[in-house]
Symmetry: C2
Subunit: 370 residues, 2 copies
Amino acid sequence: MEDSNRRRRASRHTVTIQDIADRAGVSTATVSRTLANPEFVSVKSRVRVLRAVTETGYTPNVAARNLRARRSMKILVVVPNLANPFFAEVLRGIDDELAGAGYDMIIGNLDNLAEREARYVKLAMSGQVDGVLNLTGRVPKGDGRSMAELGLPMAGICAIVPGQNSPHVVVNDRAVSVSVAEHLLGLGHRRFGYISGPAGNINEIERHAGFLDGLRAAGIDGKAVVRWPGAFNLGSGIAAARDFLRRGDRPTAVYAASDEMAIAFMKTLLTAGLEVPGDVSIVGFDGIEFAELVEPTLTTVRQPRHNLGRMGARALLDEIAGTGSGARIIEMPATLIVGDSTAPPRAERPSRAPAKTAVPSEATGGEKRR
Amino acid sequence: MEDSNRRRRASRHTVTIQDIADRAGVSTATVSRTLANPEFVSVKSRVRVLRAVTETGYTPNVAARNLRARRSMKILVVVPNLANPFFAEVLRGIDDELAGAGYDMIIGNLDNLAEREARYVKLAMSGQVDGVLNLTGRVPKGDGRSMAELGLPMAGICAIVPGQNSPHVVVNDRAVSVSVAEHLLGLGHRRFGYISGPAGNINEIERHAGFLDGLRAAGIDGKAVVRWPGAFNLGSGIAAARDFLRRGDRPTAVYAASDEMAIAFMKTLLTAGLEVPGDVSIVGFDGIEFAELVEPTLTTVRQPRHNLGRMGARALLDEIAGTGSGARIIEMPATLIVGDSTAPPRAERPSRAPAKTAVPSEATGGEKRR
DNA sequence: CCCTAAAATGTAATCGATTACAAACTGGTC
DNA sequence: GACCAGTTTGTAATCGATTACATTTTAGGG
């Protein structure tokens, strides 16, 4: 009976280092050394230990090892919305880099809900991860505690969180948004709309500011730009389109702060019988793969998604290793990709540039798709 | 100097249960009890402990707790391809369910590369997760060891892995693929193409078999169906389209085993100047959000993505709790959603059904989009 | 055969919690 | 004041590894 009990518990993860030690007739220390530093172990014990290991199928309990070593070999990745294909690709980049260093990813998906942050602050507090990669553009907090005050190595991707003493890997949202404005102005547009990200979001603020900066340089008042609230998701694009259709004074060009919003906006207009780019020109942001697959293909700002992830992960690994330099900003290039969703407005003549031509800016040169 | 050393190490996660015990003038046992079972602790010690906890900001080290409890409160989710929006949504469902039970997700992304399986077999072996959710339709293996022989609680989502003694949450790929065939036959199509999933993939096999079954019932030989190899991704759709364009004997209707392939296939044909559904009707599989956003909207098989995730996670939690029933199959409904990408072939007259009408089958009734 | 340095091994502390068990304390009753 | 039952608390083992330090073994030289 006692034996059957033991066997039941054995079903999971029973062979321990002690079992191997007994089997091989050595101490646990020798077993551990054989596995970690075989050069310090005599050939004789080495083979005995190794045989015991293969015979039993022993695998060290990593949880125990990590407790001893005060590390977990796990990274918490806090992501605003897992369903957004932009982030999915960034995650792939992160994972590629982490895998090389032996780290695994725990995904902290917020689903765009700030109240979910607390769960991951708790996770980070309790010593279950060695570092945090933050893709949210804000400092996650909860239970009165902020993730910043944990003293855990962190790195930010996609957005610079002000006042954070940690590296950030970003694109220059503002500068490339100026290029967007210049591109649309160059096509001859004069009445603009903007579909925003969530209020307070840093990327949103920068993209909006850059767009208005660009327009202002051409003498267009920011107040004249129609602004639809959004949350980077498909629903926001649809809602913006519904309002657009109700209006008398329709903009001829709309900049959406994400591709998902741009695509949903465009589709809703097309379904309503409008033409793109004939009636409206549309520009997105992110450069997700589907931007090239919609009809017409979307003009968008392409971010180096995979590399944002890789570089962010690398920066975090440096912080963990202690070789990082704390706060610093790594800027990756973003590129305006001109698709078929932008053209001169129907009534007017193009003022400078012909349709479908990239407008380079000092920050990021435009580039023809393909 | 000793003190400065202590302080340096303190930077991360220093305050331990012993510190609290000292501060409150009680033993570690009392601290632990205060936090877990306060009813067994006198009010006097309780307040002293609690005060010490708030003063120091103590958080229990979960790694240590888990070592003692022989669990990790983490689930490994093995996913074929994180960038596929279908899986992203399943993951959200999984996370919603796991969160309620206090579990966190470690993502095992294979990027469609079988050689990456070994990494996660190792992870699962080493006692770092309490269970595995497998979305891959096969048993991950590596280093000569298969994930099945680990004795870890497992559950499969999306595909039934033969011979596995674990629950599986799936849709009936085969039955709904018969409906796809019936829908296309009903529109009058007689020449068909099929873009497949990866060779050997179970979903692929079932979808292909169901499609051919449906065609065979109408007297169409499976050998007459053009079959393009694919891997569920965008590239496969493009490749298939390139071959399609080269052919003389073009099918009039193409069934793609995933939406991504269908969308890429469609876009490539449109770009080449063909009309959809005028020249070719196209059907996808999965029901990702972008299927509704492409032009024309895609006819596709909608899977209950979020619920597949939820139910799979729930089944796994049952297995972990010991209340599961081992092998069993939970079938969720899949629905053929008729979009604008299917219509009667141009030359022929429709034989039975008019265009854009759902063809119900005994397995899954068709349903008009919206 | 002894001595010494180098090599190999073992002992036991440690990581930070939980918990069985024993011990100490409390209050009430006679 | 003794006794008992019920509370409360502390001691120490435990989870499964790693590793500093001590100890033993080995090899080689004289």
